[in-house]
């Protein structure tokens, strides 16, 4: 049975008076003190033990309605789709070569086990399980896996950059695939071999013509091959989107409900208890909360921070997991910017308390972080976060901040902070308030996302000195460090334009070009320490994944990867409904 959690403090928080108190504290920005207490909700307390039904037959009649937190882009073709909320649906329809375990570790699914690695980590040989079948009865073959790896590159879909390191592939036999990379790529195993496998024959309207039009090497050829992709595969998923997963599409309404039904002939293990699951989005958080309170849905994802205590009521169960999300405050490090000096950046970071901010604004759904590698990602790597926190992370010290600014900042130091609306705007306001308290100040500009992207990638100090954004990576530090700190990403995914020490960018690049994790650890360690010392960006906080369900929903677990929530039929949870 699910393990109930009884948390008296949270029950206390459920009273309106205390909730109002928290809200007011959030509005006025707290008292600025950091007494070191930790009033944060621990995600571990909202993870539950496995539960199995007493009556399996009854459980197999289960149906649930799942409310997603964002609207889907309605891309159900894994080759094309890069939308987490479409992925939540089609990940039930397609199996991956590997899939995440209950954390961010990988476990084989369509693969028989770990690949054989040859040629200095550039050749991966995968063996496919024998009995895997698509929903139309066709076997899953190495040809299908090969197509799933290289089609994003050939067709230049949004997923192309992920697989562009592939130089060639070879189908050794029906169940063996060889993938050769152009160079050793550190994140390959942990990031990309969890490829979602499609049926090549069903996805393409003309397989032969597609193969003939495709170049011999793995390179972009969209104009040649795209006309042979069957558009119904994505646009009309019912009966056309063929996967090897435990569910298949039963009905679909554009921007409306998408209903999946269990495949009773599913080849894998476990077979779902759920007979049917309907996905529907509600982007408005209060609407989602109302739906679960009114019992109009079985599960909602994405609980707003301020309603977390409110949902601590009979008939509703809350779930939480850490996530690989990373929120940060970045500084414009170009020579002309007032924040080009590391002392100025440190002063800004010491002018406010991140711990206090998170406690007053997001204590239920977030936690402060020390490095650009979130704690859940660090579980795979083991960097000494606590030690670095004590040694390098800028502690709240307004007196020191003031003296640093007096010494290193221009007299009229009044930086512009750009950010999107929401909690990051709250943080920007907090920074501005604290800077004001020590005799300086800041201008906060809340921008829509498009404008923000245009602005923060310009590097123009007239437009911004600081920006607040977030990034969701995965189990590999490369996704954070290369995209958010390497010079190749300047003007694309990062706008701090930090030059770094001689080895800073070299290490990041070297780490992605080696497959040895220990070697990569050694390369990343000085990079992470330099980030904390020089502060091109201050790690702010990570936001947790959360869900809520009626207590009739059993064996549901929040997963760190938002795109694979809900995990409906996995080794780590097989959802069923109790009458």
């Amino acid at each position: 049975m699910a393990r109930p959690t009884t948390l008296s403090r949270r029950r206390l928080l459920a009273t309106g008076a205390v909730v109002s108190g928290v809200a007011v504290a959030g509005c006025i920005g707290g008292d600025g003190d950091d007494d070191g207490s930790d009033g944060l909700v621990d995600p571990e307390e909202f993870q539950y033990d496995r539960s199995e039904p007493d009556d399996e037959e009854a459980a197999r009649d289960s149906e649930i309605h799942y409310t997603q937190e964002q609207e889907r882009a309605e891309d159900f073709d894994p080759i094309v789709s890069n939308d987490a909320y479409s992925f939540q649906v089609f990940t039930q329809v397609f199996d991956g070569l590997f899939e995440y375990d209950d954390g961010l570790g990988l476990t084989p699914k369509l693969a028989t086990g770990e690949p054989d690695i040859e040629n200095d980590g550039t050749r991966f040989i995968y063996e496919i399980v024998e009995d895997a079948e698509f929903s139309n009865g066709n076997p899953v073959t190495a040809t299908d896996v090969e197509h799933s790896f290289i089609a994003p590159v050939l067709e230049q879909t949004e997923n192309a950059p992920t697989y562009s390191v592939i130089e060639s592939t070879e189908v050794v036999d029906e169940r063996t695939l060889q993938v050769d990379l152009s160079e050793p790529f550190g994140p390959w195993q942990i990031m990309t071999q969890a490829v979602t496998v499609v049926s090549k024959e069903d996805r393409l309207s003309d397989v032969e013509a597609y193969d003939e039009a495709a170049p011999d090497t793995v390179e972009a050829a969209p104009d040649a091959v795209n006309e042979y992709v069957d558009s119904t595969y994505n646009d009309d998923p019912v009966g056309n989107t063929i996967g090897s997963g435990p569910f298949e599409f039963e009905s679909f309404e554009l921007n409306g409900p998408a209903t999946l039904v269990r495949r009773d002939d599913y080849w894998g293990d476990p077979t779902p208890y759920l007979q049917r699951v309907t996905f529907e989005a509600a982007a408005d958080p209060s609407s989602r909360v109302s739906q679960i309170q009114a019992d109009d849905t079985d599960v909602i994802s994405g609980i707003p921070d301020n309603t977390w205590p409110e949902l601590d009521q009979d008939g509703i169960r809350r779930y939480m997991s850490q996530s690989p999300s990373y929120m940060y405050l970045a500084f414009n490090c170009t020579d002309e910017a007032d924040t080009s000096s590391p002392e100025v950046r440190r002063a800004v970071c010491q002018s406010f308390s991140m711990q206090d901010f998170v406690e007053t604004n997001a204590s239920n759904t977030a936690q402060p972080i020390t490095t650009p590698v979130p704690p859940i990602t660090n579980e795979q790597w083991g960097f000494p976060m606590d030690e670095w926190n004590d040694e390098y992370y800028p502690e709240y010290d307004p007196d020191n901040a003031e003296s640093l600014l007096n010494e290193h900042a221009p007299d009229d130091f009044n930086p512009t902070i750009i950010c999107p609306a929401g909690i990051r705007a709250d943080l920007a306001e907090r920074v501005a308030t604290r800077l004001d308290e020590i005799g300086y100040g800041a201008q906060v500009q809340v921008l829509d996302f498009g404008t923000l992207v245009d602005t923060y990638t310009s590097g123009n100090p007239d437009d911004y000195e600081m920006y607040l954004l977030g990034w969701t990576g995965g189990p590999d530090p490369d996704t954070y460090l290369y995209n958010l700190f390497h010079e190749d990403s300047a003007g694309l995914n990062q706008g701090h334009f930090y030059e770094g020490s001689d080895s800073f960018h070299e290490n990041i690049l070297a780490a992605r070009e080696t497959a040895d994790q220990e070697e990569r650890y050694d390369l990343y360690e000085p990079v992470l320490i330099e980030i904390l010392e020089q502060l091109p960006a201050l790690p702010a906080f990570t936001q947790h994944n959360s869900m809520a369900s009626g207590t009739h929903v059993q064996d549901l677990h929040a997963h760190p990867d938002v795109a694979t929530n809900p995990q409906l039929a996995r080794e780590y949870g097989n959802v069923w409904v109790e009458d």
């Binding site: 882009a73 309605e74 554009l254 739906q291 009114a294 109009d296 990034w471 694309l492």
Partner: protein
């Protein structure tokens, strides 16, 4: 015949207005900062060449006047282009969204008119009596309370606390199962009304309150008119005076209000759709603006402009039909 000519004239006048709207919309949308391709690829490792490819794929690398011309010519042939965000034809995306918005707005208007006019008449007839005071309080509440707040309150009371109505979503009348039969269709329509009730009230309350206030004022004016006094002097019954003499004259401003209230209702629908999680045009427009999905924004905004212009024209025609003093343009 004169009415027909007037109608055609008004529609002809609307063409340059709509063209002007499309030009202004297109310029504004394209002048706003933000690149849809950068938004689409945000959070990914992308190369400049891949960004350039995506730009070319969605035609964003072409000059703005070429894109406008393509949009306009496509619009008249029914090809609204392809959504960048949804990667589907815009017409398909819009068709899925227009039904819920029309159902919501029209039902809210129906609710507003059906309740406001009798209440307005009642309040005027029983001026300064308790029923008049109650009507005025209701009207004051209606005009001074945002529709989304009413929606939230309705959800909390009637969906969460009492459980009488669903808290989200709409059921479309035309979505009844094909094999439902008469009884099945009846229960389907009950389900439609069950889902529609709360959002309809939330959106229609402002219109209802506005119309009721005007109706009451106009009816009071009418009932004090010389022609009403004369009718009373001739011994015409109060019911006939109310129905035949006062009512028709009092409706002229109400007709204007209903017609022009369409734009207010479409604006209010955005928030109502959000609160009740209805996948309508309003939410599509907001989401598309955030995604900089130019083709969808242009098409939705143009369709809304067409609906509004048609609403205004119908108002003008109705006005001309009801009030003999309004000419059909001969003197203009």
């Amino acid at each position: 015949m004169r009415l027909l000519r007037y109608t055609l004239f008004r529609f002809a006048q609307a063409i340059p207005v709509l063209l002007g709207i499309t030009v202004i919309l297109f310029l504004f949308i394209n002048m706003t900062p933000g690149d849809p391709i950068r938004i689409m690829t945000a959070g990914q490792e992308v190369s400049e060449s891949h960004l350039a490819y995506l730009e070319a794929r969605y035609g964003l690398d072409r000059p703005i006047h070429v894109r406008y011309w393509d949009y306009l010519s496509g619009f008249f042939t029914g090809d609204l282009g392809r959504s960048i965000h949804y990667n589907r034809p815009v017409s398909e995306v819009m068709m899925a969204r227009i039904g819920p918005t029309l159902l919501l707005v029209l039902s809210a208007f129906l609710f507003a008119v059906v309740t406001a006019i009798p209440l307005g008449i009642l309040a005027a007839k029983r001026r300064n009596q308790p029923s008049d005071h109650i009507s005025r309080i209701v009207a004051l509440f209606g005009v001074s309370t945002p529709s989304f707040w009413i929606g939230i309150m309705l959800i909390i009371i009637f969906a969460v606390q009492l459980g009488w109505f669903p808290s989200a979503g709409l059921v479309m009348p035309w979505d009844a199962p094909s094999d439902a039969g008469l009884s099945g269709y009846f229960w389907h329509m009950v389900d439609v009304l069950h889902h529609l009730f709360l959002p309809m009230i939330a959106l229609g309350t402002l219109q209802m309150a506005t119309i009721m206030r005007v109706e009451r004022t106009q009816m009071i004016d009418s009932l004090q008119g010389e022609y009403v006094k004369l009718a009373r002097a001739y011994g015409v019954s109060e019911r006939t005076i109310l129905r035949k003499h006062a009512f028709q004259v009092a409706q002229l401003p109400v007709i204007t209000l209903v017609g022009l209230g369409l734009s207010t209702a479409l604006g209010g629908a955005v928030l109502t759709e959000t609160v009740f999680n209805i996948n309508g045009m309003g939410r599509l427009l907001i989401d598309s603006i955030q995604q900089k999905d130019y083709q969808v924004v242009m098409s939705v905004a143009t369709i809304l402009a067409v609906i509004f212009v048609i609403g205004v024209i119908i108002t003008d025609i109705a006005y001309a039909y009801v009030d003999p003093r309004v000419t059909y343009g001969e003197g203009e």
